[in-house]
Symmetry: C2
Subunit: 321 residues, 2 copies
Amino acid sequence: MAVFITGVAGFIGCNLARAMLERGEEVAGFDNLCRGSAANLEPLRRRAAFSFERIDLADIDAYRRALGALHARSPITEVWHLAANSDIPAGTADPNVDLRDTFMTTFNTLLLMKELRIATLAFASSSAVFGDRGGRKLSEDEGPLLPISNYGAMKLASEAAISAALETHLERALVFRFPNVIGVPATHGVILDFVRRLRAAPGELEVLGDGNQQKCYLHVEEMVDAMLFIRAHARDKLNCFNVGADDEGASVRFIAEQVVRRIAPQARISFGAGPAGWPGDVPRFSYSIAKLARLGWRPRQTSAQAVSRAVDEIAVQEGAA
Amino acid sequence: MAVFITGVAGFIGCNLARAMLERGEEVAGFDNLCRGSAANLEPLRRRAAFSFERIDLADIDAYRRALGALHARSPITEVWHLAANSDIPAGTADPNVDLRDTFMTTFNTLLLMKELRIATLAFASSSAVFGDRGGRKLSEDEGPLLPISNYGAMKLASEAAISAALETHLERALVFRFPNVIGVPATHGVILDFVRRLRAAPGELEVLGDGNQQKCYLHVEEMVDAMLFIRAHARDKLNCFNVGADDEGASVRFIAEQVVRRIAPQARISFGAGPAGWPGDVPRFSYSIAKLARLGWRPRQTSAQAVSRAVDEIAVQEGAA
């Protein structure tokens, strides 16, 4: 009996797998290692209860063969589908990126779950399904859903396909609407970007946009804790939850200041004009997490605390003193 | 300068093309003729301002070649994307049907509009994006969006991709959330099904479900009128409108009675048990069309009137006296 994780070599996948292994669960994972890395799995591969294969989920034939063999060896009780494109600007430049890596991975996962009669799916959705709603607190039931990136569009398309699958072969779905999740091993994102740029050129940090973009951040440790809490306590057929910090978020300006303080305290910070960093970037975003609080889970850290902690962890990851 | 219509040989496509031609517009259309039929185009093909090619939009290479050539001959000012799977149970049985014909046709259309720099898209979305919301009146901004069919899921996925495309290459989008549209040339749907079954076996009409399923119906003539009205008057970048009758809809029982009266007045009607006819069927559905009324358009017929009219038209189409 195993839990199957897609995108297991990614930032959240490897943290989730470790948490499940620590709880005594058997975990099998696939990853195409395009954005996730084998190094992220090193601490896990020593464990007998963990297995990994390099599989591209967009290749339905390879995916079918590998998942069928895995399921025959060790029956899969739950699929945790985390695999996705994580480079939002890349998907804006070429819609095929999110079609392939964000949507078709979901579509193929649902198809194989139907074939193999695996009935429970947990899915990493995103705040990006909401589009730009101007910073007011958004609940799970909020409409309309008008994503402004292909990433958000293909996450919403995935939610829609999961919703439809619950009418036929799927019995239970957990849909987590992720905030910005931070921590290590960092593979992408604004903190890693700032740390790397400052270490390369410690005199100045150039920030895209005016720095007032404000978003919710959650540390990956809390994110994994929330997902496992929802898995244990949510009782509906389709359980969709916003997961995030219970605040207005932290600004890009705050993040830049934290990184400068940690990496190069003498650096100047320069800002661009306008609200958004790139096409598809939502300038202000805030969640209502009342539904998750009613279920019994609350974050322990604010967005600002999560940022401070992640800045330190990522500085260490990148070799800063 | 031409308007380009996908799915032009389908029930709504050919009615839309005719209305545009009657207004003096030049119209070009593609269709793979899988669900639409060449016969539907016969009345249009005599007109010099109309051109047609049999193209499968899911085949991106063929679509690119044909659309590029068309655009070079006669610059396309607007794309009206109506092509889609129209057989909801087929998409429930095999998700690849709606992936290919409902979503990938949209994805490919957006991709080619980007390449050819065509900036205006009108899209036939559906009430199916809402899922089963229990019959209360739904506005355009309503959430959550939890479709219960792959058809609805891939219409929602299409809306999402269009929303994201407005951040990059698309300048204006019209998104029509279609109700059940009826009239001729009928290619599918409950009225055609009842008419055909009664003509084959005039003694009894068996109805799936208990007959209390209730939905909004709009005659295709009114549907086309509404679309052209929205095109002329809506002023936002993304213009999403519910289009439908301004009532609680008509029941399957009412439709069955109308068809029996027209085709075989002596026939018995027998009903099944339970609310839904098949997986993916929404048992009760009602729109708010307040947004469209504020823009200045109202339907002239009720759902029941549209049904009565369409029953007569479809009876004639099928050769009934």
